[in-house]
Amino acid sequence: AQSVSQHNHHVILSEAASLELGCNYSYGGTVNLFWYVQYPGQHLQLLLKYFSGDPLVKGIKGFEAEFIKSKFSFNLRKPSVQWSDTAEYFCAVNKDSSYKLIFGSGTRLLVRP
């Protein structure tokens, strides 16, 4: 079945550590890719998105993601996390010309001060 996989369900890091969250999808063809973040008690917010062009995408708050088409991956990275990055992170995929966003099951990140 077509799906979006986030392999790490829970990640715990200390402040200043580097972060990489994995996202893989199983759709063929053209896709649009997103990372959303949900801070405690808040709504889902868009971190960054990839539609086309440079596969290295810069988002808000120092986050970036790299689209590797051959690996069907769109991993999220941040060189140095802060306590305020504690949140749940969702990868989502949209097949071109479709209205549907397919979400991964999320990764809960806890950053210890």
Binding site: V4, H9, F103, G104, S105, G106
Partner: protein
């Protein structure tokens, strides 16, 4: 600030007692979506409205209905909630179907007793 608002944030209902969740938006977007998110799972699209056109996902139970009386408001009606319907319900909007970025409300957490 333009936003997506959901009321109430927490809703408790009894098994079998109809319940309505509310979503409003100040973004003047054409499309409004309802997602169901169960604990530790990905948000799952239930249906969406494009303007006044209602589009149900194939696997959405008949127990779930929706109304969109105007551009700003959209309601989710659960006719006879079961224990399995306890979840977070997310409303989202997008400017158009071809615009894939979606803006989310804070969600309503539904408890069924």
């Amino acid at each position: 600030d333009a936003m997506v608002i959901q009321n109430p944030r927490y809703q408790v209902t009894q098994f079998g007692k109809p319940v309505t969740l509310s979503c409003s938006q100040t973004l003047n977007h054409n499309v409004m979506y309802w997602y169901q998110q169960k604990s530790s799972q990905a948000p799952k699209l239930l249906f969406h409205y494009y303007d006044k056109d209602f589009n149900n996902e194939a696997d959405t139970p008949d127990n779930f209905q929706s109304r969109r009386p105007n551009t700003s408001f959209c309601f989710l009606d659960i006719r006879s909630p079961g224990l399995g319907d306890a979840a977070m319900y997310l409303c989202a909007t997008s400017r158009d179907l071809g615009i894939r970025e979606q803006y989310f409300g804070p969600g309503t957490r539904l408890t069924v007793t």
